[in-house]
Subunit: 429 residues, 2 copies
């Protein structure tokens, strides 16, 4: 099911809109048709705003016609994850708790999208409250992987990844608290970028765990992620100083069991000799801090809702929240302290390298609903495995990109690149 934007880049679309007589109105019609038609079985979209998108496309075309050019996103169709507020649209957080809930104002990142001329075609399905990396637990049913509809997309930005992977839209916004942009990007075979903490403001985005919540970008290629990142942050590229990034391969075995085929595929894509060991204490510290702070902050968001209407949660979400509310406060306090120490310890990983490379996810997409899996002969929990290689960079707030690294038995594998804030250009280069 190659949709209308399969094989097309935002950069290319921008050129077409200015030189080839393509109009935003045409692009929007292509997107709307594909979403409603062959793309519907993926369950990638929750709400399609055909009227709003057509009106915005018309305005975009008029502006371009009279020489008002808002940059490379001008006139480009975009999907927005269903927990990022878009004024006037129903934003449901993937949950029955917010069925029919209308957003009153645009989230800060949506304001920026619109200012850049992008056209929002609709909201993309999120794992319920973004509280899960599988993308198959939502009020409207599982999102399906375009490579194999029986398999999960990964999540929580499940619909955004599926929509881009299927070519329904060339670009989508997601959020990433433990890997929710990068995981589905990897499992669906697209690019996903989680910038540094706070780089894209989180105002108007429903929180999961505020210390780790990031807004991120999904697109077909890293170049498109970079382009959208610059449009959303106003950052311009640094002058190339002629230096190539020093890339090290991070030995991530301390974080999770790894499928050796996925590792081989990712490492082949990275073509790196240098190996950077990850100390066990650092790996363990990152896991513990993530778990403690995530639980405390998520439970703080959901406590009242759990008491008032527990039955409106999907069972798995409720079960996870029940565990989260038990997490004692002293562990949260210690995690805050430990995090400062981990940040210092992690700096050593970059002592001789600008960029660290590792797989995005240690496996390929499991079947929808699967929660236990065998990885390299060991029985493993699917959720923990999906998050294991991405969540450390949320704890540390570091920029991290997942890019397609070919396939293993026909299913996409992802290569993850991580850098320090300020080195984003080196990472993308």
């Amino acid at each position: 099911m190659p949709g209308p934007f399969a094989g097309r880049t935002v950069d290319g679309l921008a050129l077409d809109l200015r030189r080839a007589g393509t109009t935003s109105a045409e692009l929007i019609e292509l997107a709307l048709e594909a979403i409603a038609g062959p793309g519907a079985e993926l369950n990638a979209f929750v709400t399609v705003d055909a009227g709003g998108a057509r009106a915005a496309a018309r305005r975009a075309d008029e502006e371009l016609a009279r020489g008002v050019d808002r940059g490379p996103l001008h006139g480009v169709p975009v999907g927005v994850k269903d927990l990022i507020d878009v004024a006037g649209l129903p934003i449901t957080m993937g949950s029955r708790h917010f069925a029919g809930h209308l957003a009153r104002a645009d989230a800060a990142c949506v304001t920026r999208l619109r200012a850049a001329g992008a056209v929002i075609v609709g909201t993309t399905t999120t794992h319920e409250f973004a509280y899960g990396p599988t993308g198959d637990v939502t009020a409207t049913g599982p999102v399906r992987n375009p490579r194999d509809p029986a398999r999960m997309t990964g999540g929580s930005s499940a619909g955004s990844a599926a929509a881009v992977a299927a070519g329904l839209v060339p670009l989508a916004l997601g959020t990433d608290t433990g890997g929710s942009v990068r995981i589905p990007a990897a499992l669906c075979g697209v690019a996903g970028f989680k910038p540094a903490y706070g780089a894209i403001p989180a105002g108007g985005v429903f929180p999961l765990a505020r210390s780790f919540d990031h807004v991120g970008i999904l697109a077909a290629t890293p170049a498109d992620c970079l382009l959208a990142y610059r449009c959303l942050t106003g950052r311009t590229g640094r002058e190339a100083d002629g230096r190539a990034a020093r890339v090290g391969w991070l030995e991530a075995g301390g974080l999770s069991a790894l499928d050796p085929h996925v590792v081989r595929q990712a490492r082949a894509a990275a073509r790196i000799q240098d190996v950077v060991p990850l100390p066990d204490t650092l790996a363990q510290g990152l896991r513990e801090v993530y778990a403690a702070m995530h639980s405390g902050e998520a439970a703080a968001v959901h406590g009242d809702r759990m008491a008032a209407a527990p039955q409106l949660y999907e069972p798995e979400t409720l079960q996870r929240l029940h565990a989260a509310v038990q997490m004692p406060g002293w562990r949260y306090v210690r995690a805050m302290d430990a995090r400062a120490g981990l940040t210092a310890a992690a700096a050593a990983l970059f002592e001789h390298h600008d960029v660290l490379a590792l797989p995005t996810v240690p496996i390929t997409a499991p079947p929808i609903g699967r929660r236990e899996i065998e990885i390299d002969g060991s029985p493993s929990a699917v959720r923990a495995a999906l998050l294991a290689l991405t969540s450390p960079w949320n704890v540390l707030g570091l920029p991290a990109l997942s890019l397609p690294a070919g396939t293993v038995a026909g299913l996409p594998a992802g290569l993850q690149l991580v850098c320090r804030p300020g080195d984003e250009d080196l990472l993308f280069a």
Copy 2:
């Protein structure tokens, strides 16, 4: 039992040391005799450092003799609470966990004391780990109130208050996380000042709940507290702008049941007409934030020790810690958020006033060991009542002074004055 410093002020001693031929060596001998003699039954001191104090007094005298004058604390005997590190002395935190534990270095506030020429005569008894406002739970037995040895001093800076109240020393350091300087000051009839959060650095002080931990000062009079505060912080008084402080009487009934005799006594001492209401939501918010953050932070400090050697805690301390470790993380997260809102709401209390006045403690000193008491006809928990009027100012980090306000049935009552950081001079004026 009026000790050698009863009725004498630091200011007066400073004059005597410079004009009346008094020596620091003499003052130290007076203190040592009183502590070992008639003062011993109070259990105010844990360790007396006779040798160290005599040597320091000799140096102080030599310096003064050759014209080196370190200011008003020069040569003055001081007691230091037994959880503030004094290099080379056993610092026990009032607990069997630290029996015989020697401090390796001076706490930051002790460094400042010594730089100001003060002579440390020994360590004063603390409620175990400062984790209690009664002062009667320590590894070395209860501290006794100089006004009535059958009654508690309040705590946790129990020994510091008893030592100053009995005239064993003219000045002592304490710590105050929920009222631990002001409560024993009030119950023993001396002055106690908790400066703004962070004004006196807490380095080298054993933590209780770090967000609320303050180092404070106990002395016979507010003037001596101010003098020591300036010596310890290097702050000098502001130019008097001729303006009298606008003082409002805070209606504190929303915080606790109040003994009307204590209220009358404190209010008579304050001589204020203006009444400032305390909104119920603010009172409740302050209580909840204090409880949640205090529990989480204290349990984070003690978790490992509880697991390793629970039997070394006094039973009441262990019981409180068992409750504290249960406090869920989401409550801590919410408390952090709520605290920011409370700070804004509390600012309104100062809209028309520079200083708020209220009783320090809603009761007079209960008998040692007592945990339930009747206040104005209502059965009340002693610990909660002792902390009720002081802990809000720890949550808000505001400067707060307790000063003697006469007696109720022969037992001291305290008047508390609270201001915003920067208005300390107005408060003391």
